[in-house]
């Protein structure tokens, strides 16, 4: 069934539309570029609220390392603008198109709403650490602003971080402000071949505990992208520093085996693929999980899953992020995976699965009842009529 689409051209127009929907008990599914539509529980709504007419960079101050844009602004447009000044979104937002096989252009609003970060999260922080301010339309049709454009801001309750990763369940983000960083002059990557998972994560931990500011730490087990397992470490800095730091970093890693430096031609696509979970994307019918744990427990979770589940996997964030692909049959491994997160701490998100499975399984980790009660209370405080993305997260 094709749903009617509303694409308000201004925040005020959006607010009025939402007020009408709340009064008429109509529900809305928020849509940006549509490239991440498979993220979260499937939403059954009366209409689509699209941000496609809410576009444009509203403020860009290169010398202040800050950019504001309306939510529907394509990410590519932001990247061109800031790239011209050698700046970047430091948290390296993942592009979900490889995973979902979706077309279209990711938007800056969805980066904030889904709280999307990539490999550099371990060193520079996540999307929520760089989201300085938001403007949003809440479910009462009110325009709420929180945060601002300055780096440090503790004025009042922080609704910015709360909105980041709320998947549009609290409101329609209409405008977002992100902190930027200068792009590093150079990227360097060190690779060690042939380590098993436990040794690999030990090597990554040793590297992350060094003073050399590792900005990517991943492990691709044997058979995933080649016959050999490959453990990868990235350093981004001034050119001289990259050369020096790769040399220094290799020394304490000698005990894990010989390491080699990768050329950019080889390493840059590799980091992009790690960011996008591309090594697991096909076959398309597989379910994809994203498991967050303390880094050293990553291999323990995997070893525990291997007892009863057949899957492919790899590690990012020094072992703290485990990507798992398994057959999308029965519960897609949910019971086994959630038993493991219970035992080892952390949590699991079902990032990709057919709609009918995601409707049945908790896509996000079930929470303790007191936290669930808070989540419901927060939803009601923003969106008492339940207009936005019903069911997408918990409520």
């Amino acid at each position: 069934m094709t749903l009617p689409v509303a694409a308000p051209a201004s925040e005020q127009e959006a607010a009025e539309f939402v007020r009408d929907c709340a009064a008429g008990r109509k529900t809305l599914r928020i849509e940006g570029g549509g490239t991440r539509a498979g993220f979260g529980r499937p939403v059954e709504a009366d209409a689509i609220l699209s941000t496609r007419a809410l576009t444009g960079v509203t403020l860009y101050e290169p010398a202040e390392l800050v950019i504001s844009a309306r939510a529907g602004t394509p990410l590519s447009e932001i990247e061109v603008a800031i790239g011209a000044n050698n700046q970047m979104l430091p948290f390296e937002p993942m592009d979900h198109r490889a995973l979902y096989g979706s077309a279209g252009e990711p938007t800056i609003g969805a980066v904030a709403a889904c709280g999307v970060s990539g490999p550099r999260r371990i060193q520079q922080g996540a999307a929520r650490d760089h989201l300085l301010g938001v403007r949003l339309v809440n479910g009462r049709g009110e325009i709420v602003q929180s945060g601002g454009r300055v780096m440090k801001n503790v004025t009042g309750l922080d609704l910015v971080k709360l909105s980041c990763g709320a998947h549009g369940t609290l409101g329609l983000l209409s405008e977002v402000t992100f902190k930027l960083r200068p792009k590093a002059e150079r990227t360097g990557t060190l690779a060690i071949n042939g380590l098993d998972d436990a040794r690999a994560i030990a090597a990554l931990s040793a590297a992350l505990g060094s003073p050399f500011e590792v900005s990517g730490a991943a492990h691709l087990p044997a058979g995933l992208i080649g016959a050999n397992a490959c453990t990868l470490l990235r350093i981004e800095n001034f050119a001289d520093s990259v050369a020096y730091r790769l040399g220094e970093l290799a020394k304490p890693l000698e005990r894990f085996g010989p390491s080699r430096r990768l050329e950019d031609m080889e390493s840059l696509p590799l980091w992009r693929d790690i960011r996008d979970a591309a090594p697991l994307s096909s076959p398309r019918r597989d379910a994809i999980w994203r498991i967050s744990v303390a880094p050293t427990r990553g291999p323990q979770v995997v070893a525990s899953l291997q007892k009863s589940l057949s899957f492919r996997h790899f590690y990012d964030w020094g072992g703290g992020l485990v990507w798992v692909a398994c057959a999308a049959i029965d519960d897609a491994g949910a019971a086994v995976i959630r038993a493991a997160t219970k035992q080892f701490g952390g949590h699991a998100t079902l990032v990709r699965a057919p709609d009918d499975l995601r409707a049945l399984i908790d896509v996000f980790e079930p929470q303790a009842s007191a936290l669930m009660q808070i989540a419901r209370g927060l939803k009601a405080s923003f969106d008492p009529a339940g207009v936005f993305n019903p069911g997408r997260m918990y409520v």
């Binding site: 101050e61 290169p62 010398a63 202040e64 050698n86 709280g115 999260r121 371990i122 996540a126 929520r128 650490d129 809440n138 009110e142 602003q145 929180s146 601002g148 454009r149 300055v150 780096m151 440090k152 801001n153 503790v154 004025t155 009042g156 309750l157 922080d158 609704l159 971080k161 709360l162 980041c164 990763g165 709320a166 200068p182 030990a202 931990s205 992350l208 505990g209 003073p211 001034f238 520093s241 020096y244 220094e248 744990v293 303390a294 880094p295 050293t296 964030w317 703290g320 701490g345 952390g346 996000f364 980790e365 929470q367 936290l371 808070i374 989540a375 927060l378 009601a380 405080s381 997260m393």
Partner: protein, 477 residues
Amino acid sequence: MTHIAFPLPDPSILSRRDAIVIGLQAILPNECVISSENERRAYETDALTAYRRMPLAVVLPRTTEEVSAVLKFCSQEGVKVVPRGAGTSLSGGAIPQEDAIVVGVSKMNRILEVDYANRLARVQTGVTNLSITDAVMPDGFFYAPDPSSQLACTIAGNIAMNSGGAHCLKYGVTINNVLGVRMVLIDGTIVDIGGDALDPAGLDLLGLVVGSEGQLGIVTEATVRLLRAAEGARPVLFGFDSSEDAGGCVAAVIGAGIVPVAMEFMDKPAIEICEAFAHAGYPLDVEAMLIIEVEGSETEMATQLGKIIDIAKAHGVRVVKESRSAMETAQIWKGRKSAFGATGRVADYICMDGTVPTSQLVRVLARTGEIVKSYGLRVANVFHAGDGNMHPLILYNVNDPAEQAKAEAAGNDILRLCVDAGGCLTGEHGVGIEKRDLMRHQFSEVDLHQQMRVRAVFDPDWLLNPAKVFPLEGRVQ
């Protein structure tokens, strides 16, 4: 008479004081309940010393479970609660009220676990900020947020205020360095938010709790990130003939793609006060000074400094002085971090905390000087220039009520100026009582109502630190 209002104490609570104290004594051992007037006096204010209120009683629980029992009791009895770390808040965040009990975390001061492989530590929140770094520094690690009060202030207070410090330009503030908390809700429920993984399981409640000024719950344990220290660190002093030159230099450094670990600004009055106290070798013949710190190997620091010095020269720097030893580095930072204490030896002061876009620094600084002068007072400026977080210290005599009123009026003018320049009321000290009545200048009624509805999800009866953050009139549940 001072001008920040406190709510009138609830007579029905005051009249039940003895029964409430007995109730608390039934929950906690005697040494954890402070009821005598003499002992309570130590808790009647924080670092906003112009204001003080004697609390009903003070409790110092030893465990999360004891905090839970106390909050459950208070919630059942309808007694207000003012959480307290070390009482170093500059915004009055820990100032009690007569009908509230103070719940202090000072007895919960242990480091529970240090895990270098996962680069984290689990601590009780009564530990001081510096004691975490002290515990892990021998192994080359540190806890990044470094507020000037780090010797005394607790992690509980840091979490409440989302504290920053001189080095957060590179390493971020408290929220960027905390992975999880154990928190007691007002009804006594104990919740774990976050944990030892890097991202949240559902809604980012951690991002909401950090910086919530003790209004959502009492945080008793925290999991914090540990970072490996750089190979070396070196602060360099840059003296300028004008604040404009120094401010221009800050913008140019960031514009050139260099993000130093710290970029601190001091004007002439601040330099003189700090140098007299710390003997750090600050240049006394300049109008403004930057402390810029770089990190890395010797070669890396030299390269980065070379670039920064070139930029500073283009902005007319007159004095460049590198630290040549660990001792000099310590002296340079001691001077900066004791700025508030050193100023306190010269005069009483109130410390503002507004933040502005860095492009507005020079203009706001000049205007700040004019505002304070128009009230016939003096100001010393010492602040985190890299992120636009200003700390004008307005000097006045606390025993002169007229002068105090002028100082507060000047402070309010400055904070409004910061908001109008695109910034905010507070960068790292929190709203507390101090900036509570200015909230409507930064936020609309709709914004504040949304925040208050969020607050009410956690504390529907407004028992937790109720006189803070939100204007006293027009509250919603």
